[in-house]
């Protein structure tokens, strides 16, 4: 089990991820369409046409608007399990 001790740090960061919800500030350059309308007066054609070209399954990690913390935790679990599964599959192919 020794080699799994590193999981402690993963659990620590898992527990504190709701801290990421404390800010309403958007990352610079990750704006939605309304930002351009507001700041430029128009939405550049390409951005308007292609911004929503792909619909992700659980947009923005907060698919339950009433319970952002819960959806953040569920998103984290889904992400972490997907990552472990993919590495596990690659390892199985290798064997």
């Amino acid at each position: 089990m020794q080699k799994y001790k590193i999981l402690t740090i993963l659990i620590f960061f898992f527990l504190i991820i709701p801290l990421g919800l404390l800010t309403n500030y958007e990352a610079w350059g990750e704006w939605d369409l309304s930002f351009f309308k507001e700041h430029l007066g128009y939405i550049p054609e390409g951005i308007e046409n292609y911004h929503h070209i792909f619909n992700s399954l659980l947009p923005d990690y907060t698919f339950l608007p009433n319970n952002p913390i819960f959806s953040y935790y569920i998103s984290a679990i889904i992400g972490v399990l997907t990552i472990f599964s993919i590495f596990y599959l690659i390892r199985q192919i290798n064997k």
């Binding site: 080699k3 960061f13 504190i16 800010t23 550049p44 070209i53 399954l57 990552i83």
Partner: protein
């Protein structure tokens, strides 16, 4: 720093996919070689850790926010190719499942936060580790994020020059390099890079501590 869909002109993202293809192919081959029962726990845990820290958005003065990426840790503990592929996988999951970063922009995001960040961390660490290990870890983390933000700023900032309508209106990302460089590189050098540096030190020192305990335990037996 995750560029969304619609911000990049087709000329940009098609080129980025063409450039990425051989790098991803080679990197994946390296990952397959390195991934075994012994390395699996650490590689997958550190990759999952990268996914989690990217969820922790940290606000900074000026009304924006950002986060660390965790590429440097993987690059230093394994090698830059492993880090590049692992982070690209994280970015892929973020884009497909959570809409964080675009599908068309995935290759640019992966080149910046994966490829460039991992090689910068690797080279800086190699260069400085004999001088002072803690300093080397910090600089590796800091510089990896700053270099990666530079690539993002550059790719975003050239869009108004390469894609505009006949009357000069930008078709894709509208702000040029004079704006993107200070906004993206400046904030990463001052804030998020520092967080990446500290995260790199803490994670690698923590891992060394676990290993030290293991050595002592084995010695007792």
């Amino acid at each position: 720093m995750h560029i969304p869909d619609g911000y990049l002109s087709p000329a940009t993202y098609i080129t980025s996919y063409i450039v990425s293809a051989p790098l991803l192919f080679y990197g994946f081959k390296k990952l397959k070689e390195k991934l075994n029962d012994k390395t699996f726990p650490l590689i997958s845990t550190l990759t999952a850790l990268s996914f989690l820290i990217m969820m922790i958005n940290i606000p900074i003065p000026g009304g924006t926010s950002g986060h660390a990426i965790g590429t440097a840790v993987l690059s230093i503990l394994f090698d830059p190719w492993i880090a590049y592929i692992s982070i690209s996988l994280v970015l892929f999951i973020q884009a497909v499942i959570f809409g964080d970063g675009g599908i068309t922009a995935w290759a640019v995001n992966s080149l910046a936060m994966g490829f460039v960040a991992s090689w910068t961390a690797f080279i800086m660490y190699r260069f400085l580790k004999n001088l002072n290990k803690t300093l080397a870890l910090f600089v590796a983390g800091w510089s990896s994020l700053v270099a990666s933000s530079f690539v993002i700023a550059l790719i975003l900032g050239i869009q108004p020059y390469i894609a505009h309508s006949p009357d000069g209106k930008p078709l894709f990302f509208p702000f040029d390099l004079k704006i993107t460089i200070p906004a993206v590189v400046g904030t990463h050098a001052l804030y998020f890079g520092v967080i990446e540096g500290v995260f790199t030190i803490l994670t690698i020192k923590f891992r060394e501590k676990i290993n030290a305990i293991k050595v002592v335990k084995n010695a007792k037996v």
